[in-house]
């Protein structure tokens, strides 16, 4: 018996809070790792977008 419950009943119902907190903490670090990549990506993306805006669009047929 665990806390007066049969082990399978205890694990089926009451082990989850611990499991979920552990999963959430692992997810935090996994997501933090992703965030770093994504932030670098977003920065590069913004730079690229800015470089596009800085460029004057060419009107067709500039004669030689």
């Amino acid at each position: 018996m665990i806390f007066g419950l049969e082990p399978h009943v205890f694990f089926a119902f009451l082990s989850w809070p611990i499991i979920y907190i552990i999963i959430a903490i692992i997810m935090y670090f996994v997501m933090a790792k992703h965030d770093k990549k994504e932030e670098a990506w977003e920065k590069a993306y913004d730079e690229w977008q800015a470089s596009l805006k800085g460029e004057a669009p060419a009107e067709g047929g500039e004669d030689e």
Partner: protein, 173 residues
């Protein structure tokens, strides 16, 4: 590119004058992004049939006569209307740099008016069908640059650069 082949297969074509020479294209591409290098670049000519038609309206109040230009993409058989004939030049080019004409010329001339009808109906809301008469046609080419680039990770990618107006897009996106 091989000099030898160029010598053997030179042909004269009528081509839309290119507003962007190779150096201009270089500059324009580098201005957009610094995260790549240009490894190779060459011209490619895209075939179009420029067809001129005369359109005659016979409305109740007005009689109109107008000439229109239709461009037929001779590689894929797609039609579009052209605003002006444009500025052409005759040049000698390597035959292998031409995309071949795959579409039948007679068929293009016959089918061109359909595009004109569509355009007139959409733009001018004219319901009666105008008479459309064929005037003349001419095979012309539009110049493009094929540009081979490498990004920061040394991955190769290709850009199609429109040598007439400087638009470009990724080829293998």
């Amino acid at each position: 590119m091989t000099e030898e082949k160029k010598e053997i297969n030179k042909v004269e074509i009528k081509c839309i004058r290119n507003g962007f020479k190779m150096e201009d294209a270089f500059q324009r591409l580098y201005k957009r992004s610094k995260h790549f290098t240009i490894e190779n670049m060459d011209l490619l000519f895209y075939p179009y049939l420029l067809i001129e038609y005369e359109v005659k309206f016979r409305g109740k109040l007005e009689k109109l006569s107008e000439t229109v230009l239709v461009l037929c993409d001779m590689w894929r058989g797609q039609f579009s209307m052209a605003k002006t004939a444009g500025d052409f030049t005759k040049i000698q080019v390597d035959e292998s740099s031409l995309i071949p004409v795959k579409y039948d010329k007679e068929r293009a001339i016959k089918e061109g008016p359909r595009t004109v009808y569509g355009e007139i109906q959409a733009k001018k809301k004219v319901l009666n069908i105008p008479d459309i008469e064929y005037l003349y046609d001419e095979l012309i080419y539009k110049p493009f640059y094929i540009v081979e680039c490498k990004n920061d990770e040394q991955e190769v990618f290709h850009i199609l650069f429109d040598a007439v107006n400087g638009d470009f897009s990724l080829l293998n996106a």
